[in-house]
Every structure is written in structure tokens, then in C-alpha cells.
């Protein structure tokens, strides 16, 4: 039997950065490999302190009392692609946390209705208002705004949406779909999309990239997850615990759980 592996992103075995700095994580994926399982793992990492849905560890959930909390910071999930209903059904219900606890620590912001908005600052306000002072934010697919707002370019999206959120939260996870990323941009929209993803990468501490198998399809593997260091150096060079452990995993998603293997 192949040994299953824990997901480790940083040298101190954590999944999300654990320092007193401002951090940005870039999560990229392409069609065919949904990042839902990884987003769920990140939510669990904040709420329970460990990613319980990975590697069939949900049985251990009993060990994590609902009162004991790893860190009282909480997490906000803001999505431009999934509405409140979807998030409750597919993410909240899977987490299986007590409702009272979740009200404090897990906030969801439905941004699917904000796509036609005129000012990005209104979106920022909406997220911060609904975040209830949580310290981590997962921002799903902000690049959609490049398509819905005609005069928006990558720099403006970065400066007016990502940067204010980056200041307001300790850790921001930007989830982006790479299907719009084109090696040979044919229009200025393509160019702006490339630029947006690149410039988020330059700010990020780590890039988690989910890809389908390059060989096609297999019965026992869904895709690969590669963890590479981002464009930002991180600041304190003496603190090795926050160094990124670059690695490539194979993952296999099943109904309730996702298994990880080293490549």
C-alpha cells in the first residue's frame, strides 16, 4: 500500500503561514480539477488546526473538541463564483462544525451579485463588513471582474481590490483559474489577465497549483498539487520555520475525502 502523506506547505508543518507578517497565498487551478477540496482543507486548517478531510482523517474529528480552538482568528470565504446557497450546501455542511462555532469563525461573503458594481471599494467594504474581524481571507476568482468591468485593468484590480484586502487581513488566499492564462495573448483582456495572475504571484509567499494529470485520466489519481515558493521573499531570513517546502503531490478525490501521495 502506498503511504499517504500529510499536506505540508511550510517547514514548521503548517499549511497556512504562521507568522506576524502580512501574507499572500496564490492558489491556481485549471478546469477539470476543482480546488474545492483544497479550499476545504484550508478552512479546516484554520478552524480545527488541521486539515481533517485529507487522507480519511475525519474519524479523528472526535479528538478535536468544538470548544478547543487552535487560534481564535477565524476565516472568511469570499467568492465571485459561488453563491451563499452553494457555499452553505457544499462547504459548510461538509465541515460539520457546530453552528454557533461557525458563526464566530467561518464567514461567507457572496460576491456573485457584485460583479456589475462600479467601484471596487464597495466590494472591499462588503468583505470587511461581513468578515467579523477574522484574520484569514479566501478570495475566490477576483479575476472575473476583469471580464465584467469593462474599463478595469490588472493594475487597478490589484491596487483597489487585492491590496486593501491584503492590508485588512493577515493572510489572503487568492484563488485563480488558469484557463484564461494564455501563453500567447491575443487581446488586451488576455494580457490583463496574465498580468493580474503574475502580479499576485510576485506578492505571494507560496503558490499552490492544482493540475490535471498530464497523461490524461487515471482511476486512482485525480491530479497533481505542486507547492512552489512565491515571488515574495518573506522577510525574516533567520526564521527557517516559515520556509516553503517545495513539493509535488498526487491527489485522489473521493466522495468525502481526498488522499495525498508524494510524487
Amino acid at each position: 500500500m502506498v503511504q499517504k502523506q500529510d499536506l505540508i506547505v511550510f517547514q514548521d508543518f503548517s499549511i497556512l503561514p504562521n507568522n506576524n507578517l502580512k501574507n499572500l497565498v496564490l492558489l491556481t487551478y485549471s478546469l477539470g480539477t476543482s480546488p474545492a477540496w483544497l479550499i476545504q482543507a484550508l478552512l479546516e486548517a484554520v478552524i480545527f488546526g488541521e486539515a481533517l478531510s485529507l487522507n480519511e482523517r475525519s474519524g479523528e474529528r472526535a479528538g478535536f473538541s468544538n470548544d478547543i480552538n487552535s487560534n481564535d482568528t477565524g476565516i472568511t470565504l469570499a467568492s465571485f463564483v459561488h453563491n451563499q446557497d452553494y457555499m452553505e450546501k457544499h462547504i459548510f455542511n461538509k465541515l460539520k462544525v457546530q453552528k454557533t462555532k461557525s458563526e464566530k469563525e467561518l464567514k461567507m461573503v457572496d460576491l456573485t451579485t457584485s460583479l456589475q458594481i462600479e467601484k471596487l471599494s464597495l466590494i472591499v467594504e462588503k468583505i470587511i463588513e461581513n468578515s467579523n474581524n477574522t484574520k484569514t481571507l479566501i478570495l475566490e476568482q477576483p479575476e472575473i471582474l476583469l471580464a465584467t468591468m469593462s474599463s478595469l485593468d490588472a493594475n487597478a484590480l490589484n491596487q483597489q481590490l487585492v491590496d486593501p484586502l491584503f492590508e485588512a487581513f493577515d493572510t489572503v488566499v487568492v484563488v485563480s483559474n488558469l484557463d484564461f492564462y494564455s501563453p500567447f495573448p491575443r487581446s488586451s483582456k488576455d494580457l490583463q489577465f496574465n498580468k493580474f495572475v503574475q502580479n499576485v504571484f510576485y506578492k505571494s509567499l507560496v503558490n499552490l497549483n492544482i493540475k490535471p494529470l498530464s497523461t490524461g485520466r487515471a482511476n486512482d489519481v485525480t491530479g497533481t498539487l505542486s507547492i512552489v515558493k512565491g515571488g515574495d521573499s518573506g522577510v525574516n531570513t533567520n526564521d527557517k520555520s516559515q520556509n516553503v517546502v517545495e513539493n509535488e503531490y498526487l491527489f485522489f478525490t473521493q466522495r468525502e475525502t481526498t488522499k495525498l501521495f508524494y510524487r
Binding site: 505542486s226 515558493k229 515571488g231 521573499s233 520556509n243
Partner: protein, 315 residues
């Protein structure tokens, strides 16, 4: 050759420690190896006591440890004028603290500033004891082919004005280009593979956390002469090894007998030769087949055995 009389790595060290004053450094990088993960640390390492680094950041919100003063440019995105005023005020403060200091003013990604304003900002911040250092991401440059140029309704379209990169490359006194060190990265085979991976944003392991990278220095002298050197920089030992450029003609290994024969290129490069040597030719395998021409037939489950066949195989 005049440039061989002095040592390129000494020149690089002098430039990084700002012993030779240079008004504008341009650092260009790509996602394959970013400036923040590479050359900026060398400025900090080589810095002398009388150097203050003022970091104007459009990207990171964390103040790097080697920096004397830090400006979060995201707070001034509405107008570049207020940003410049703030930077000028900070420079004054640093000068007041230490009048002898040289200030290196780093613009972490000048691409956020509109190209029409870049030249003006450089001009406004230029002072005798201030060196500007602009970082630009080369991969932000894109060429959109089917974009109409020319006058439209009498208004000059924006793409006629030179890009920030072109402008800065033209006026910079020193250009430092950061490239990943492909030869010491075990996860990539060659530059071609790296390029195809990076263009799809599927970054292989060991790019930004590798302890060495390639650096191309273009040093423009007052005389108008410009020197170009390639280095391999080690971030742990801070050694700069001058890489002598391989002569392309020796790489090609051209056969003189093909000269002037056709207009086609009949030469093979070393890489092509290497690839050719690795191909197993099919007839070599056939020669090792030692049953001597016999028809090898294996009877399978679904084959029917015809008993009345007079020419049947004896087995």
C-alpha cells in the same frame, strides 16, 4: 579587448555597494526568479554603513529587514504626485539623519506607475546622493498582435507611447536582468522546457528557492560605451562568478563542406546532435533477434486450429 582588462565581478560588487554612483538602476525579473528573491538581497549584503535603503513597495506589505524606511505605495494609488511628494519627504528625513548617506530608493515594481509619468518621476527624484532602483517584471510585457494602431478620432492611442520598460531601459545607467539558473536546477532539463512550463504558469520546483541565479549586467559608462556581463550569483556565499559567453559558432559545430552548397541550413547544433545520438534505431534491435528468421507463432485462445490444413506448421 578593453573590457578584459578589468574584473567583471569587481565591477558588479562596486555597483551593488554603490561605490560607483549610478543614478538609475533597472532590475528586470520574471516569475521564474523574482528580484525580491535574488538581487535585492545582494544590495543589502554589499551595502556599506553609509547606505540607506528607502523601499517604495507596491507589492509586499512587510518591511524587509535591510531597509531603513518603507513606504506602502498602495496608500497613494490615486495620484502619483502624492506618492512622489511622500518619497521626497522621506528622502529629506533620511538626509537629515545622516547627511553623508547615499540613499537607494527602490521602486518595487515600477510597472504600477503609468508609463507617461515614469520619466517625470525619475526626473523629480533625481538628486546627487540618491540612486533610484526600479524593478520591472519582464513577463508583464506582452505583445498583442491584432491591436489597431494609429490615430482614432484624432486621439493618439496609448500604445504609441513607449512602455515603461522601453523608457527605463533607455535611460537606466545600469540594467540588471535576473534569470533562473537552469543548469543547476535538477527539476528542469533545459531552457526550452522551462519556457513552456512558465508560459502555462505551471512552475516547476526549485525556481525561486534555488540558491543561485543568473544575472546579466549592462553597465553604461559615461563615455557611451556599454558593457555586458553574465554572472552566476550564489545567494548563500555571495559569490559572483563571471560566466563567459559560449561562442555560438563553436556550439553549431558547423561542417565546412556544407558551406555555400545550399541556401538551407544543413548544420546541426550540439543539442540536436545529442538528441540524435539518443535515438535507438529500429534495425539495431532487429539484428539482435537471434531466432534466425523463424516464424514465431503463439497459439491463442480464440484461434481455431484447422486440422485439415496440409501446409500446417509442425508445432
Amino acid at each position: 579587448m578593453a573590457s578584459s582588462t578589468h574584473n567583471p565581478s569587481v565591477l558588479l560588487k562596486r555597483l551593488l555597494s554603490l561605490k560607483d554612483p549610478s543614478p538609475l538602476y533597472l532590475i528586470t525579473d520574471t516569475i521564474a526568479h523574482t528580484a525580491k528573491n535574488s538581487i535585492l538581497n545582494e544590495f543589502a549584503f554589499q551595502s556599506v554603513s553609509d547606505l540607506d535603503i528607502l523601499y517604495v513597495s507596491f507589492e509586499t506589505l512587510n518591511k524587509p529587514h535591510y531597509v531603513s524606511d518603507f513606504v506602502r505605495a498602495s496608500q497613494y494609488f490615486q495620484s502619483s504626485q502624492t506618492l512622489v511628494a511622500e518619497v521626497q519627504a522621506r528622502i529629506k528625513l533620511l538626509h537629515a539623519k545622516n547627511p553623508n548617506a547615499i540613499i537607494l530608493c527602490v521602486f518595487d515594481n515600477i510597472g504600477y506607475i503609468d508609463s507617461s509619468e515614469v520619466a517625470k518621476i525619475v526626473q523629480m527624484l533625481a538628486e546627487p546622493r540618491v540612486s533610484l532602483c526600479a524593478i520591472y517584471h519582464r513577463d508583464n510585457l506582452g505583445h498583442v498582435e491584432s491591436q489597431p494602431t494609429g490615430l482614432k478620432d484624432g486621439i493618439l492611442p496609448q500604445n504609441v507611447y513607449p512602455s515603461t520598460y522601453d523608457l527605463l531601459k533607455y535611460i537606466a545607467t545600469n540594467v540588471l536582468e535576473v534569470y533562473p539558473d537552469v543548469s543547476s536546477n535538477k527539476n528542469i532539463e533545459d531552457e526550452e522546457e522551462l519556457e513552456s512550463l512558465v508560459s502555462r504558469f505551471s512552475l516547476p520546483k526549485g525556481l525561486n528557492n534555488l540558491h543561485s541565479y543568473e544575472l546579466r549586467l549592462i553597465n553604461r559608462r559615461k563615455s557611451g560605451r556599454s558593457l555586458k556581463f553574465d554572472f552566476i550569483v550564489n545567494t548563500e556565499t555571495h559569490e559572483y562568478v563571471h560566466k563567459i559567453a559560449k561562442d555560438l559558432s563553436s556550439e553549431d559545430a558547423s561542417d565546412p563542406s556544407f558551406q555555400g552548397l545550399t541556401t538551407f541550413n544543413l548544420n546541426t547544433t550540439t543539442k540536436q546532435k545529442h538528441a540524435k545520438d539518443q535515438v535507438d534505431l529500429p534495425f539495431l534491435e532487429a539484428q539482435s533477434f537471434n531466432t534466425g528468421g523463424a516464424i514465431v507463432y503463439e497459439f491463442e485462445k480464440d484461434d481455431d486450429y484447422d486440422e485439415e490444413d496440409p501446409f500446417e506448421d509442425p508445432f
